[in-house]
Symmetry: C2
Amino acid sequence: MADLNSKVIAIDGMGGDSAPEAVLSGLAEFAVSGFHFIIFGNKKIIDKHAHLLGDNVSYEIRHADVMVTPDMGVTSALRTGKNSSMGMAIQAVKSGEAAAVVSSGNTGLYMALAKIILKTIPGIDRPAIASTIPSKHGSIICLDLGANAECEVKNLVDFAIMGEALAISVLNRKDIKLALLNIGSEDVKGNRLVKKTSEILKKLFENYVGFVEGDYIFAGNSDVIVTDGFTGNVSLKTMEGTANYVVSELKNALSSTLISKIGALLAMPALNSLKKKVDPRLYNGAILLGLNGIVVKSHGGADAIGFSNAVKFTANILRNNIFDRIGEQLEKSKLHYVSEYFGKQ
Amino acid sequence: MADLNSKVIAIDGMGGDSAPEAVLSGLAEFAVSGFHFIIFGNKKIIDKHAHLLGDNVSYEIRHADVMVTPDMGVTSALRTGKNSSMGMAIQAVKSGEAAAVVSSGNTGLYMALAKIILKTIPGIDRPAIASTIPSKHGSIICLDLGANAECEVKNLVDFAIMGEALAISVLNRKDIKLALLNIGSEDVKGNRLVKKTSEILKKLFENYVGFVEGDYIFAGNSDVIVTDGFTGNVSLKTMEGTANYVVSELKNALSSTLISKIGALLAMPALNSLKKKVDPRLYNGAILLGLNGIVVKSHGGADAIGFSNAVKFTANILRNNIFDRIGEQLEKSKLHYVSEYFGKQ
């Protein structure tokens, strides 16, 4: 059982393409003392693979009869979802038994269940998915990465407020620069949504630097990039696809001649450090911001390394009390102003 | 003066960040016989830099008093724009004097002027920007890359029709696979726009393969990827930014130690071939599809190499009579069905 001083994290043992193997191996890979895991899932299946956890993980298994699957749809998933491994893991946060929950399961269902069970922070209508992204000047925060395919101005303004709070906590500094993703940097560019949002952000934030384009994300001149969930998700996945493409073309090029192979061999440590820098598994872990609890989403295709990084991301949030800081920041921030601006919801 | 057998291309000599130098040097870089260029711009300025054209370019200069600039806004640009280098170059296509026009000038103004001067093809409400993009299985076509920040279902369906026609011409084969960019591959994913569009594409195209996500663009399993101009532009620029980031991190990594430097030296030809493959300048050149004329947009930041590739792209379209083929394809295609579906415009 858990050491009373341990931080407790609820784990959806059945979520993701390679569950439970990737989940259990991921916990073994993480294996940092001071954390205890409650693993929810089909006890028979989890037990069968429990050897993957090794000897250094403090854990317990809780049986869940139901498993939510993407093809069952949100409606029926919600009907049975509370008894699923995913739903029970979220409820462990609600009850206070766990300080956070991690799942590689379907994003839509996860978001829907988390919203129903934990509810949103007062003043926030829609949670957003936020994650760190590498840039030339260190990590930046990007949101929404796919929770809301359809957004209103109010949502984007909320995302800016939450993103700023997260950035202050995660990037550990105060001079956060906020930007809005657009298809040009001039005021006249873009669709109605970003134009209107930009007008409001100008009034609310002194540290709002305006529009940025897709090719400036990696420049790292802004710390928080706000966008709707459709654009954010396409952009994030385009990053992954492009990085994979360039790296695979690099491999092809380096193995094309004997001399280039020798060159690659000599440059191997350098190439490995590059690989590490652009490996999306190392950036795995996104927080569903705006809920009354720490809900972390791991990539559905995450392997053990990927899952361990999502747990590391969660541990970091817990260690730094980031969630409380976000709460304070939201309290201090412009929520009041915003609800005046948009009228009471 | 022009050889009567030459293909004539109208050039906006003043468009782009590095005009007219990049434009003129780009034409010299292209220097393929059988083409004649009418360069529109301030005669004094163009003359001053005419030495950049070298001895192998067949050209003439036409004076334009006015220059359109992004900061003058679409309204005032349209008022004076017809007498600008950009407007006059487009008019040369309208009058039949030139077979195509190329400009690195502001996209919004270029699109607006081209639409006013050349008009759209019957049945098409909004032109789209289409370009080839590299993938693991050769080039693919992507549109809209930024002409329409706000799209209706009818627009996306038009883009699919035009994209298919362009792909048959440019990729030079018949078995074109059409896909719609989305944030998931299941039917339930995405916003109203893509869900509704997908329903219609299913009815219209046997070769419609459904939704693709951002990370699948480079997989090359689809030949035409359709999206609205906001998402398309963000995705395209994210590609550029990511490729630049990975290549710059590769450079940093390779120059980090003496041994990695030696390795990089041995692998130099391989690295150069990679650089060439991901160099956005080599993919410069996008066509404004849906207009009664061949209108090619070069990147605003294009240098000589970039501009020469936009001209090469244009030359290719002219050589293969691609524009006529698009016309035929549109004629044969589902336009009739579409106007029935949406009602007469």
